[in-house]
Amino acid sequence: MTVTTAGSPLGADSGYELVSDPARAREALSLRCGGCLPPLLYETDTPLGEVPLDFPPSARQLWLYAHKPGRPATWIRKRREFLDHRLYILLSDRDPFSFTAARILSSLGVPCGLRQEAEQPDWEAWADLLGYAAYAAVPHAPVEPFASAMRSYRPERARPFCMDALAIIVRQSRKPSGPDADATDLSNIREREMCDAERVDRFFLDRHPCSFCPAWRVCMGTYERIRGEGENTCSVFFREWMEACECPAIEK
């Protein structure tokens, strides 16, 4: 079986195996020592509804990264299969429909998450999804990157929120504490990059708009080049996210 992590955004020691061929995914899942192997990330361009879910039963964690959610009518009836395989479904914000798909999956009880990959994020769409993930009173499965941040956020501590659901679940899978892992304390590489003192100081020395932003503490200028315009900005979104984390009415 070919196992590759070369394409992993988190580097070669990512802690999961990346496959893009369904046959190879099946092969990986049928290995008997499944419980001690790292999670399998099956990445596919096939729309979610068309991904064959004929995987063998396995103790191994399976994450499905579907670049295109496709039409809900094609996958909504697969709820049982998603749950039976204990699938974690990852979507990308490159496809605008991913936001709606994440809501639907979550409402079906399927844990899911979004990865921020779009060159210019739709911050309003992110904020809408946050609103659902944080405030919706109806039962629903956790939506990352919000769920873990809501649990681990501490108002007095300034740390960048992670916008990549994959990075969050990788972190969680590595920690014995599982889903309670600290989502604001992500991969070392990313945190070092975000908190680099010289990079951060530049914002203050240049009086960059980010240094005056109310959400600086949970972003630290990460999205300075894709801040957005008007109400559709990272600042509005991150501020709403902070407020949701601090909202006493939300059960963490």
């Binding site: 203050f204 020395l205 240094s211 005056f212 503490r217 902070m242």
Partner: protein, 383 residues
């Protein structure tokens, strides 16, 4: 009614502001040390420091329940050679070990020349925090005639990181000027985004009549500035941490604890504070030393005990009684103001027996902002 505020004499903490140099790496617009170019030495000599240590030890031995907080001040105290401070430390270890547990050091520095060696030395002196100042607005803090804030801020940020990496928390004083009034919230966010480990404190700019009228603010403007910031801080205070004067007022008004009042509001500065200048002169405080008023002698011939008991302090001590019976008699904020800084009343009126004009800022802030925003009505602590 007593003639001045009752204080516990046993276990008193005296504050010594020790001005080690008038040299500075910055030329801040509102700095009295920079603007009042005095004759004489530019830095404290080893001999003066030695005399001062003797006086401090003498005081602590005579007052076994008291303690002294020794604040290294300037100019910029880090411009002195490190050897100067090492000698002080050495003397304490060799000659004054018996009082060293009641002598605590603190420092006010702009951090521009902070390096790891300095940070280690300060920790050897027992410092766990250091006070500093910062202003993102160009042209207010910085070296040279044009006050190069780009140079200041770069060095300050570097110094802050070094200090914090070494385990020294950094508190920031922000001086509110006319330029701060345009957008208080943006400014507040910028300052809190710096994430200093220590507290952030706002002070109003205090300028002599003839200097920088474009920076001057009124007590009302200061109160309104604080009010705009308070509206953001109060509901999010867990997020923003300790911001003064808000935290202190919360402690006073809600927790009924006035022990944290700063010198200008404490009503006991006549008992607690003294300043030592480069040549050993003892004054009431740092400002009085800058202004050449309320001088109690020189450590060469005057003990600290005598300086703290000087009859010249009587006028200040009596100030509180006369204010309480007079101009401040109807004020419900007396417990947290005590008429404000005596020096502020000296400047416009020529005597101490008037409340500080800045007391109006305190009153306005509490009545217009603190009480409406928190829904908590201030009640006298002593009533």
């Amino acid at each position: 009614m007593s003639c001045h505020r009752e204080i516990e004499h046993a276990g008193l903490v005296r504050t010594l502001i020790v001005k080690t140099t008038r040299l500075c790496t910055s030329n801040c617009a509102y700095c009295d040390v920079v603007s009042r170019k005095k004759p004489g030495p530019s830095s404290m000599s080893d001999d003066v420091a030695k005399n001062l240590l003797q006086r401090v030890a003498e005081y602590l031995r005579a007052k076994p329940d008291d303690a002294i907080t020794w604040i290294w001040h300037g100019g910029e105290p880090l411009l002195l050679p490190k050897a100067f401070y090492r000698k002080v430390l050495e003397s304490i270890r060799e000659q004054y070990a018996d009082v060293s547990d009641r002598l605590h050091f603190d420092m006010q520095s702009n951090l521009m020349v902070m390096d790891r060696e300095w940070a280690e030395l300060l920790q050897d002196m027992g410092l766990t925090s250091i006070g500093s100042s910062y202003d993102p607005e160009p042209g207010i803090r910085g070296p040279g005639e044009s006050r190069r804030s780009d140079i200041y801020n770069k060095a300050f940020l570097r110094g802050m990181r070094i200090a914090e990496d070494a385990g020294l928390s950094v508190g920031i004083i922000y001086v509110v000027t006319k330029k701060s009034l345009a957008n208080p919230l943006e400014l507040f966010r910028h300052l809190t985004n710096l994430r200093p480990d220590g507290a952030l404190k706002f002070n109003p700019v205090l300028l002599p009549e003839n200097r920088f009228p474009e920076l001057r603010i009124t007590p009302e403007e200061y109160a309104d500035f604080l009010g705009a910031v308070f509206a953001e801080w109060w509901p999010n205070r867990q997020r923003y941490g300790k911001i003064d004067p808000f935290q202190t007022l919360v402690q006073c008004i809600i927790e009924k604890d006035t022990n944290g009042l700063v010198c200008v509001d404490s009503g006991i500065c006549a008992h607690t504070h003294a300043s030592i200048s480069l040549d050993g002169r003892i004054a009431q405080c740092g400002r009085s030393d800058d202004w050449d008023v309320m001088s109690y002698g020189n450590i060469r011939e005057c003990s600290l005990l005598d300086a703290f008991e000087s009859p010249l302090r009587l006028e200040m001590k009596e100030r509180y009684g006369s204010l309480r019976a007079g101009e401040c008699s109807d004020c419900r904020f007396w417990d947290i103001c005590h008429g404000g800084c005596p020096l502020d009343s000296l400047q416009p009126r020529g005597h101490f027996k008037a409340p500080s004009p800045w007391s109006a800022a305190q009153r306005r802030f509490i009545e217009e902002y603190f009480e409406p925003i928190t829904g908590i009505c201030f009640q006298s602590v002593t009533s």
